[in-house]
């Protein structure tokens, strides 16, 4: 057990004049307690107005991404005591429009995602009564790509996104490459179309914040590199 002070960045849209402010909550935290557990405990026992998204509690739904001690993480996967500090600051992820307290708007995330036509594009019809064949090696190319939980931690941490609110974003690049790399997909031109744009790939300066931020240990930067090469190939080849 340890007494931890949570410094939570709060914001109520109905009270614009007050704007953002920091509120502190002290909580006795035991081994195994995650930041999400702590936030729930605060909400249920101290202040019901504290607002944050959450659902699965197990790091798979992507709801609870927030900035904890200056870094984007999933609250439900972050052990409080592992942060090794008596003070824990919790803020909404930066870069997205604020909705309330720790809740941000996902609109930029979805807009970026839709831009890359995030679905399998095929032209030849699939065999009837049978799956398309895909070798384990071809399938392995999707590892590290399809696991994205759309939490938005990557894009929020990217300085290019801070500078351009319409930046399509590493999460969407990763998704685009998930399809471009799929042996079954026949629409790489369609996936890539929106990327050769001023809000697209060329705004990525290989800063790697996205990689550092990704709670699923995915590597959007690698996907971005592959996409850049693919685009160059299409343009000059």
């Amino acid at each position: 057990m340890a007494m931890i002070t949570f410094r939570i960045n709060r914001y109520n849209p109905d009270d614009e004049r007050r704007g953002h402010y920091v509120q502190e909550y002290a909580l006795d935290v035991c081994k195994g307690c995650t930041v999400l557990d702590a936030l729930n405990q605060i909400k249920w026992e101290q202040d019901g107005s504290l607002t944050f998204r959450r659902s699965c509690r197990s790091g798979i739904c992507g709801s609870c991404a927030m900035t904890i001690k200056g870094v984007n993480r999933l609250a439900c996967e972050t052990q409080v005591l592992a942060l090794k500090s008596p003070n824990v600051t919790v803020e909404p992820m930066r870069g997205y429009p604020d909705i309330k307290d720790l809740v941000v708007s996902l609109d930029p995330l979805v807009r970026g995602l839709l831009a890359v036509r995030p679905y399998l594009i095929t032209k030849t019809p699939p065999p009837s009564d049978q799956e398309r064949l895909q070798s384990p090696e071809e399938r392995a190319r999707l590892d590290g790509l399809y696991e994205c939980i759309l939490c938005g931690a990557c894009t929020s941490s990217c300085p290019s996104f801070w500078a351009d609110k319409e930046y399509i974003g590493p999460h969407a690049f990763l998704k685009a490459y998930r399809f471009v790399a799929d042996s079954r997909d026949e629409g790489s031109r369609e996936h890539l179309e929106a990327l050769d744009d001023k809000h697209g790939l060329w705004r990525c300066h290989t800063i790697f914040n996205c990689v550092e931020a990704c709670p699923k240990d995915l590597n959007p930067t690698r996907a971005i590199g592959e996409l850049k090469k693919e685009l160059v190939r299409q343009r000059i080849g």
Binding site: K31, R57, Y119, E131, E147
Partner: protein, 594 residues
């Protein structure tokens, strides 16, 4: 019936009605069931999908193991075998006509997922890979375990869910993400739409539809220890009850043996499959006492009961409510190669390194076999038996067709959700082809919902929602968990009534309209009170032990009296029951031994 006019009720009680939306089909729930139906119906009609969480945050994404289908990609398999296993697993309470449809169509549904782009793991030949799962066997139970569960590594649910979302995006399904359904509009046996709350912006929205589908998922959150998401509060069940419709077989709740201590987060069956031990406070492998042959690999309900017995008899670790799942003897190599996810989970959520320490585990509420009674085309039945509500459908975990009967087999529920979601979609398309006009929307359509929101937002009592919910969960775990008996259930029913009284006197900290989870958690708790009563009353009535329902005072299965489905309504303060026979076609009930 005068027609609905948003202006006339605007600001009736201070809660504004923002707009009326019209769609041919309105689907509540963006899990496998909801989105699979949306994919089907959107080919021809205008489909809207509401979900209280962003679609890809639905709980289906949490499923790890796999989706069952007798593809026979890895070894010989037949739908008859799959059917036998499902019937036996259900402890013969499953309706065999529905099960037959499910096992026969399963390969089609799984292959369609592949065609949509789902990144299934593959065999050497490039086909969808399959693995073993508890309860799935060869040759009508005579052979050993069979490779039947199709999977995408240990992220099957995630892969399926995202694939469906992607196809919905492609089909231009209209999403209303973070819209919370408040009430269902059913009048004169016709469903006319529903009322929902816009979580982000605040405000009531009315959805006018020719057909409504519920794919609202499970309700694990009524238990203290559960593998379910915080959003799994069973709203759909309550909305359906409040519209005067029954629920079926609610007493059947599945407990998974291995949830992480305290959080209940699922430790997959693979932990035991790869050779993990279960040990008690004395360090004994206690499964020796309960299943000397199969040991840790006995079926889920049996292992759960064994663990609970150890805990109840004081042999939990340090006398506490948990035992150990010990993997240390497997060695670091094997753990990191075969069970990396489990290693990660134990580390991230308990701060336990399972290479060096045993993992504290306890049984965890996992799945609800019961739900909204529907026929094989997912039409919701007004009488629970044969009379459908025009235009109202349900599929997935919130529905009860019933393919799982008294106990569900692993990997059968992803199958059920997507397969019956698809069937529902097809049925809706047929229905809409014949239905030209929108049903009339009654003028008081939104009144109940507005009143509810208003009541909570102005609640000036003294009781905390969080505290009451915690008590409800504790009491459900203690009184209506793995083991039940008449005395405890009756006591629990009384306690729940007391809690519900206190619930009427809640206070609320957040009175704003925008993104108010304080409000929604209170509404969810109200929903829970509606249907937990049926779980408890149903469990009290059913004087036998079958599948997941285990009465210590009636330890045997009683086919004579209880080979039938429970139907329950809520009429005022009272719960009313009716029963219907189980459909038996191919397999006559036999004693269930493994």
């Amino acid at each position: 019936m005068t027609n609905f006019d948003p202006e006339s009720i605007h600001d009736v009680k201070g809660v504004p009605v923002h707009s009326v939306h019209r769609h041919d089909v309105v689907i509540v729930g963006a899990g496998l069931a909801g989105m699979r139906a949306a994919v089907e119906a959107s080919a021809e009609f205008d489909v809207a999908v509401l979900s209280k969480v962003f679609p890809t945050r639905s709980h289906s994404g949490g499923a790890q193991g796999g989706i069952a289908a007798s593809l026979a990609n890895e070894e010989e398999d037949h739908w008859e075998w799959h059917m036998f296993d499902t019937v036996k697993g259900s402890d013969y309470l499953g309706d065999q006509d529905a099960i037959e449809i499910m096992v026969k169509e399963a390969p089609v549904v799984v292959r369609e997922f592949e065609h949509m782009g789902c990144p299934f793991s593959r065999t050497r030949e490039g086909r969808i890979a399959q693995r073993k799962f508890g309860g799935h066997t060869k040759d009508f139970g005579k052979g050993g375990p069979i490779l039947r569960a199709c999977y995408a590594a240990d992220r099957t649910g995630h892969a399926l869910l995202h694939t469906l979302y992607e196809v919905c995006v492609h089909n231009r399904v209209r999403f209303y993400p973070e819209f919370f359904a408040l009430s269902l509009i059913v009048r004169d046996g016709v469903c006319r739409g529903l009322v929902a709350w816009d979580v982000i912006g605040g405000g009531v929205h009315v959805f006018h539809a020719k057909a409504v589908l519920f794919g609202t998922g499970g309700y694990g959150q009524v238990y203290r220890i559960t593998s379910n998401a915080l959003a799994n509060s069973g709203d759909g069940l309550s909305l359906s009850l409040r519209a005067g419709l029954p629920l079926e077989d609610m007493e059947f709740v599945q407990f998974h043996p291995t949830g992480l201590y305290q959080s209940g987060i699922l430790v997959s069956e693979a932990a035991r499959g790869e050779g993990g031990y279960l040990t008690n406070d004395k360090g004994e492998r206690f499964m020796e006492r309960y299943a000397p042959q199969k040991m840790e690999l006995a079926p889920r309900d049996l292992v759960s009961r064994s663990i609970q017995t150890e805990i109840n008899e004081g042999r939990g670790i340090g006398g506490g409510p948990y035992v150990h799942c010990d993997l240390r003897h497997l060695g670091a190599d094997k753990i990191m190669k075969l069970l990396p996810q489990i290693h990660e989970l134990a580390w991230k959520f308990l701060h336990v390194d399972c290479i060096k320490e045993p993992i504290p585990i306890q049984p965890t509420a996992h799945y609800s076999m019961g739900g909204i009674p529907v026929d094989i085309d997912c039409r919701v039945l007004i009488d629970g038996k044969s009379k459908p509500v025009a235009g109202f459908y349900a599929a997935g975990e919130c529905a009860c067709v019933s393919v799982h009967g008294g106990n569900r087999l692993g990997t059968n529920s992803l199958l059920e959700a997507s397969l019956f979601g698809r069937r529902a979609g097809k049925a809706i398309v047929r229905f809409l082809r014949e239905t030209r006009d929108f049903p009339e929307l009654p003028s008081d359509a939104a009144d109940a919902a507005i009143a509810e929101v208003e009541r909570v937002l102005s609640a000036g009592g003294s009781e905390s929602v969080g505290a009451i919910r915690t008590e409800l969960k504790d009491k459900m775990s203690a009184g209506c968990g793995i083991f039940r008996d008449g005395g405890k259930l009756e006591k629990l029913a009384g306690e729940l009534r007391g809690l519900e009284k206190r619930f009427r006197n809640i206070k609320i900290d957040d009175r704003s309209e925008k993104f108010n989870y304080d409000l929604l958690e209170a509404i969810e708790l109200g929903h829970m009170f509606d249907f937990v009563e049926l779980i408890v009353a149903g469990a009290l009535k059913r004087q036998e032990s079958r599948g997941a329902h285990s009465r210590t005072d009636f330890p045997d299965r009683d086919d004579e009296k209880w080979l039938r489905h429970t139907l329950a309504w809520k009429r005022g303060e009272k719960v009313e029951f009716d029963y219907k026979p189980v459909t038996i076609t191919r397999f006559q009930p036999k004693t269930r031994t493994y």
